[in-house]
Symmetry: C2
Subunit: 287 residues, 2 copies
Amino acid sequence: MTTTSEDRWTADPGELLRVSEGFLLADVDPDATPGYDGRKKEGRRDLLAGAEQLAALQERLYAQSSADPSTPAVLLVLQAMDSAGKGGIVRHVIGATDPQGIRLKAFKKPTPEEIEHDFLWRVEKEVPDPGYIGVFDRSHYEDVLIGAVRELAPPAEVARRFEAINDFEGRLAASGTRLVKVMLHISSEEQRARLMERLERPDKHWKYNPGDVDERQLWPRYMEAFQTVFDRTSTSQAPWHVVPANAKWYARLAVQALLVATLEDIDPRWPAATYDVAAEKRRLAAT
Amino acid sequence: MTTTSEDRWTADPGELLRVSEGFLLADVDPDATPGYDGRKKEGRRDLLAGAEQLAALQERLYAQSSADPSTPAVLLVLQAMDSAGKGGIVRHVIGATDPQGIRLKAFKKPTPEEIEHDFLWRVEKEVPDPGYIGVFDRSHYEDVLIGAVRELAPPAEVARRFEAINDFEGRLAASGTRLVKVMLHISSEEQRARLMERLERPDKHWKYNPGDVDERQLWPRYMEAFQTVFDRTSTSQAPWHVVPANAKWYARLAVQALLVATLEDIDPRWPAATYDVAAEKRRLAAT
């Protein structure tokens, strides 16, 4: 706890936003900014300070992995309803780090080849190597969210997927990957306003899809599906965090704080030289 | 030509730095800052202004590609001697754009599987899709640089590779990829200083490898190999640019300017809506 950014957190966002026993999504206020004693102006300033902190930690993680293959990876999993701000997290939180240390994967509608395989097939290929921060913009959770709501899979298959997800994430955690699972939570009214803005601005038209309204009409069922996801997959090794996201600045700050805390917990170290530094200095000076 | 950044360019860096008929690498002064009427302080400020411009153009390119599969891709190919600043370009030029629109690939020493295939096999897989900016941190040119200097391949094979590279890049250009090939050019003395800094700072030790000095001892042969690369592969459709890089701020600004000019030439447009905007507004308002 060293920066001014962290001083404005009155509670650990990791604790505060974590989905634990008895959590109810319906109790979360998407307008809230829990644990942060500041408003938009302070939040934006603190985001810049946090970006430096995150970038410095990431560089050390990457450096450590160059010498130590048991270095952890970090995997940020982002799930949300449309327009909730996943892209903004990628742009403003992840985008402030060195691209060389990031493995970003946006999961779209599965291709025919992907559909022929188990739902985790395309996901396993994108797991970040040691020292990297992986980011899943959507993920295997689509297969138990839209998969359940749109009945793309029968209930027994969805049930099997929950087991498979917990097994998969358990294996990831056991092999040293720190999972940071985040749902960005906006209200239905906020989504309407954001989609309307896309319709009102010609430079945003490309971001709008008529299917967005179709999905929106299933809002209550999606909220139920998210609740089920939390009930079934918020484990001690891979807990979910629900981040109120009507205030974009807060959501970005909170996700940044979750990542910073994860990296601080790893506490990566600059690796020691594997060569004789003095001898190399002499050798170099002679060239 | 709209920003203050470009106002300080007294000549088009694309023209000025391009390798054309009769180019001699030996004539390039790595300390120079050709075409830019400013120093480090102005250069840093202009880099920030250019970053906004590049990010805005990139977003429009990406948007256009969502509606038009014939949208070009941009491919930045970075080659250089060790410590010349490729990583800094990725961090400070590419890192200022939206990670969602970037396809970054660092080519390392080939794996056994890669060696079993033609040298372009691993490269073809990383060609960016329409609307993306691809970045190759090292590339297929390693196979005619270290490949020739270290005699990893016989001369006839190296000669074949030059043909294959021109064919490959010709195909890329014909299918709409804009190639921006850049060599960052530092002096041998500057490299010594940069490597020495890595040896002097424990937080940089991990970036140093004793092999760096071995390669360094072959400096004249690498310069010859680069000259051959320029002679053989600086084509009208995929010209090389040699960027003096002893001044890091200049190299970043110049590469940014090359990318901005490429995107301005593409002149991407926001795609028109493929749906009835008024009808969608009504449909959305009713939810």
